[in-house]
Amino acid sequence: MSRAIRFAPLVLFLLVVAALVWRLAIPPDTNVHSTLEGRAVPTFSLAGAVPTKAGLASTDLATGQPHLLNIFASWCVPCVGEVKVLQQLKSQGVVIDGIAVRDRPEDLTDFLARNGDPYERIGSDLQSQVQIDLGSSGVPESFVIDGKGVIRYQHIGAIEPQDVSLILSKLEQAR
């Protein structure tokens, strides 16, 4: 047996260690991205999530101007912090529609009264069916939708203050 082959186990071991160190240092992206970017919003129609606000249908998203569609819930902790950022976006003229996942009207009314209400319309998605139809894997998530109702960008997780300029530029591109 040649000399070089004797070192094969050691080389293999070092390769495994290198792979482990690499993946620990740069963890892979575990987010599941929707594959619907660049495609039209699936057809849906949701009843209003709170009595004081209109529900949301896919046709409401194709009005000629870009929309920010926010998937959220009153039981979702990061959504509380996100509302403030959404209100900042609203004050800059962004149209924000919401889909409340698995929510109750009384909880949602409470949530909006306490944290603020940046939403034009809120549809109630009682069994996450529209969420799944959109290829969304959790709350909060947001979609930038252009005037023709085509999904242009998916933002996974809460929109943080440092994401505002990104969202605004995506909305501008969708114009």
Partner: protein, 136 residues
Amino acid sequence: MRRIILMAALIAAQPLLADSNLPPAYWSNRQLPDPKQEAQAEALMEQLRCLVCQGQSIADSDAELAGDMRDLVRRRIAAGQKPAEIRGWLIQRYGTWISYKPTSEPAAWPLWLAPLALLLIGVWLIGRRIKLKARA
């Protein structure tokens, strides 16, 4: 005293629930009345990956979203859709990530070829050994 209070507080502490207040979807934990359809749904659910507990199938996961996906699968099977159609519908939304069933895409070719390659290496090793023994 302070330590005791702290310990008591820790014992009484509850994990923060990140779940909704709504009951599970109707078909999430209920079998379909038709055993044949239920078997079809079950087989498909075991091959669909949970979006929350990535690594579990939606059949195994307790996540609410997995429950809602089981409801979706059973509802569609009951309405007469084929499991392959439902899988395709989900792949359209989440990519092949959602399905545990290996595809025939180029990325999966090593997976299909590995057993064959290992078998050939084994045959070669045994062949060499037999030749060496015959010579000795």
